[in-house]
């Protein structure tokens, strides 16, 4: 991964990369549902899916057939146009965010000269772009809830707004401290900063924990899945959705989980540097897989929390902690 050795990035390479990200991440997002059920089942001493195929592996195909063949219902009094584009917003913003993160290492396509880069679009402000795009992802649940003329949907989208306003401050402030240390907003610089083997989580443990908590809220994972909490508000913003439209929300959520995993691995956990004798690309996949597993682990371990508890946590506990962390980091850098 030497910056001077990299071949020129062509338009064809970027297009191949974009198709690869779409295909691989969408497939992983589908497969993620199987893994999630199996791991949750294992932790709760159940068996999980096991009837379709060996160990239930073909459950994924069965789910796909079910989603594609379900009747696509649009409620009578819903705003049909907004109702139709809301799931697309969720999925699209999740994948656009993936354009600026290093997902797998760069390689050259066999028998041709086309070089496929590690990052589809290596902009200088990569981290901010990813966070901004994930912030734009809030419009998916928000518009979905408001367009469907359903009370549970409205409550779901109101919760989207308060959840967003709560975690967004914490995400930004928590990631600011590592940015100050590295002095750059590019993922590549974060990676090179950690080449000597000391991960940033050693210098910034508080920021790492804050970012993880905010990341859980950002991907609507369980301690903070207020938007579609079945026991309270039916399904929140997805109440009226069926079939593939619902599936798009799901794919977007899983793609966001992977994005958070990539950010956590590259910013805090050493990125795609070689570790001892293990090559870098295995390391980054292992780290992303672990953070994915960690999200499922937390889901199996913790109950939901109430919206007011989330706001209390974000504004009164996490935000002051993040500000103090930034102050201390700044003082240490100055001295």
């Amino acid at each position: 991964m030497d910056a001077t050795m990299l071949p020129e990035v062509t338009a064809a390479g970027v297009i191949i990369k974009a198709v690869l990200i779409l295909a691989v991440i969408a497939a992983i997002a589908g497969f993620g549902t199987y893994i999630e059920r199996k791991i949750l089942a294992f932790m709760q001493r159940r068996l999980g899916p096991q009837h379709v195929g060996p160990f239930g592996l073909l459950q994924l195909a069965a789910d796909g057939i079910k989603l594609f063949t379900k009747e696509d219902i649009i409620p009578q009094h819903a705003n049909k146009f907004i109702f139709a584009i809301a799931p697309v917003i969720t999925a699209a913003t999740a994948f656009i965010a993936l354009a600026a993160v290093p997902v797998f290492p760069g390689f050259t396509v066999p028998f041709t000269d086309i070089y496929v880069p590690s990052i589809a679009s290596d902009i200088n402000v990569g981290i901010l772009f990813v966070l901004g795009m994930m912030a734009a992802g809030l419009y998916g649940p928000l518009l979905a809830g408001m367009a469907q003329s359903n009370k549970w949907g409205i409550i779901g989208s109101a919760r989207t707004a308060i959840q967003f306003l709560s975690y967004e401050v914490v995400t930004g402030l928590s990631i600011l401290a590592p940015i100050m240390l590295v002095g750059s907003l590019s993922f590549v610089d974060f990676n090179t900063y950690q080449t000597d083997g000391v991960w940033l989580v050693v210098y910034q443990p508080v920021a790492f924990i804050l970012f993880l908590i905010a990341g859980f809220a950002e991907t609507n994972r369980t301690p903070f899945d207020l938007l579609e909490h079945e026991a309270e508000i039916i399904s929140g913003y997805v109440t009226e959705y069926s079939g593939m439209r619902w599936g798009l929300f799901f794919i977007g959520e899983y793609a966001n989980m992977i994005t958070i995993g990539v950010i956590a691995s590259v910013v805090f956990l050493g990125g795609y540097n070689d570790f001892w004798f293990i090559p870098g690309w295995i390391m980054i996949i292992a780290k992303i897989a672990f953070s994915f597993f960690f999200m499922l682990w937390v889901r199996a371990s913790w109950p939901h929390i109430r919206p007011d508890q989330l706001m209390w946590l974000c504004w009164k506990v996490l935000m002051p902690l993040a500000v103090i962390n930034i102050l201390i980091t700044g003082l240490v850098i100055m001295i």
Binding site: H77, A78, N79, F81, I82, I123, N124, V125, L128, F129, L131, G132, M133, A135, A136, L138, Y139, L142, L143, M146, A147, S149, I154, S157, A158, A161, I162, F164, L165, E168, G172, S184, L185, D308
Partner: protein, 187 residues
Amino acid sequence: MYEFIAFYVFAISTTILFLITVMSKNVLYAMTALAAGMVMISGLFFLLGAEFLGVVQLIVYVGAVMALYAFAMMFFDATKNIKEKHQNPTLVFLLGGLMALLFVLMFSAPIIGDNIQAIYPMIEGVGNAQAVGMVLFTKYLVPFEVAALMLLVAMIAGIILAGKKMDYSLTESESADEEMNIKKGDA
């Protein structure tokens, strides 16, 4: 060539989306179009090479500001059209048109006079965010700090306005129930 096409795509879609925001009678359409227009504007920033500003546009306007608007929209029925009262549509149209014309003249005057010079030209090899930071913390330090102070004042005022009776829980306290006229037996 690509930049040319991209500019016109962004410019035309921004104009159309903001027109929808102004013209539409539906709250939901107006809000969606406003947010989408903000995204298109950040596309223009990216096209000019101002990545940092483009991303800030995304985070601040698309994210924070529009989320606040959206929160206010929860109090309306978003699926119904709003009946608007137009007192004097001709006057509004005239004033709006004059304002637009004035802005076009103001911004095109230096271009016609060929008199644009960057007071702080971009330094080679310095990133976007760093360049903004340098100018902010040297030339524009005082306005920057004053803006920060004003935001602090606004924040404290907001907290005081919203923070009445924040020290007891509405769900648990008995007196809050009486205040809201809820009897325990009714529910």
